[in-house]
Symmetry: C2
């Protein structure tokens, strides 16, 4: 009888161990697995979601004025706090309205010349949006071809670069209606394929926002369905740090 | 023999439970103990460390342009993310260069009229700094008297208000030399006494930065000894959220 009790108690306690291990993994194990290591230069690239009101006259790394007011700035704060005693050197070169071909047009000055160790890219929503509103003539195939070429060019110029591809996302409110689907899902799938082809870390922002709908409606996270609220940006930074840094 | 093994195994597993409980406390227990609850209005007040380049033309709650680029903005992001599905309504009214009497001069417009549920104040470094450089004629006693009067006035006008008093801090580098001590420590002690007298939550920023010197030198956290770097601001936001929200 007592032996049976003991076995049951041990089984119950053992069942708790994975939870405990998951908790402990936020410590030094996670630090050693992190993609961004102290001393590295990190570049955030993309469109208005990355840009987020940054001061484009400020080019120095880690200057909050140059990092904007979005997920990139919040992720940078976490990277900088964690890197002590050293620094990381974070740049934001997101430009509002950009599509993937427009990243390519300014890639020498706004990526390669910065010699980043890590490049994180969030691009795609304008490739479909500007096509839908008649200001661009894009397709999923063009997006995937241009994105693939951009990453090939990056890896050729910077053979040791580590890449992060962030999933384009929308929330079903504001500017986003049913006419975006299923085409938008194909852009997301293309970004995932490009990430896999280049060994990039993939940050699943669409899945993250889909899951967040269990907590709050779409408008809470991005009033117009595209540009995150501060709550949405904070959630993105948390997910970026969890995915890229194991934080 | 087997029974002995069982007892030993159970004891070892039970020893892990407190760690597990500590991990689990970051969940709903912490949420219920948090000072800032969903739906509340939160005001950050202070000097340049709080101001942190906010756009003073932007008065709306939760507008990142109006929240600046410092600890208040980073703490706001955490508050907003955690409050889902509801919002909190965060204002920043820090003004660079302010001493405690200057908060009092603008307290009707920049605090009471906003009807905040929670007021967080970080003030004091200019009360000593501007006295040392000849631009003010302050003392610890004047600081404590003015600070106490400000909190009395706040509680009289807003009987249900919850107060957060942040400890003034300096790091020993840049503008900070030995001539600041022990007087600066007396300003810190005065802030702690005022917090206790008014039942305010006290955020121990000096202790936090003193502890952070084990990770990185003073300049890493605040190059001039007064104004935090992005890493310093991120550490402050983390400590603010841990102290005020149990996060």
């Amino acid at each position: 009888m007592r032996s049976t009790f003991h076995r049951g108690a041990i089984a119950a306690l053992l069942a708790l161990i994975p939870t405990l291990a998951g908790c402990a993994a936020t410590g030094s194990d996670a630090a050693s697995r992190a993609l961004v290591q102290p001393g590295m230069t990190v570049l955030f690239q993309g469109d208005s979601i990355t840009d987020a009101g940054r001061n484009r006259e400020v080019g120095d790394a880690n200057d909050p004025r140059g990092l904007g007011r979005g997920y990139a700035s919040l992720a940078a704060a976490g990277l900088l706090m964690d890197a002590a005693p050293r620094d990381v050197f974070v740049h934001n070169r997101g430009v509002s309205g950009n599509k993937v071909f427009q990243l390519a047009e300014r890639w020498d000055a706004d990526c390669l010349e910065l010699r980043p160790d890590v490049v994180s890219i969030l691009i795609g929503v304008n490739d479909i949006w500007h096509t839908k509103n008649g200001n661009y003539d894009g397709t999923v195939a063009i997006y995937e071809r241009d994105y693939d070429a951009l990453l090939t060019r990056t890896r050729t110029a910077l053979p040791d670069v580590k890449l992060v591809v962030c999933e384009p996302f929308v929330l079903r409110c504001g500017a986003i209606d049913d006419s975006w689907f299923p085409e938008f899902d194909e852009y997301r799938a293309a970004a995932r394929r490009v990430a896999a082809a280049h060994g990039a870390v993939f940050v699943p922002f669409q899945q993250m926002f889909d899951d967040a709908l269990a907590q709050a409606p779409a408008e809470h996270w991005a009033r117009d369905g595209v540009h995150p609220s501060m709550a949405g940006a904070a959630l993105m930074a948390k997910t970026w740090l969890a995915t890229v840094q194991g934080r």
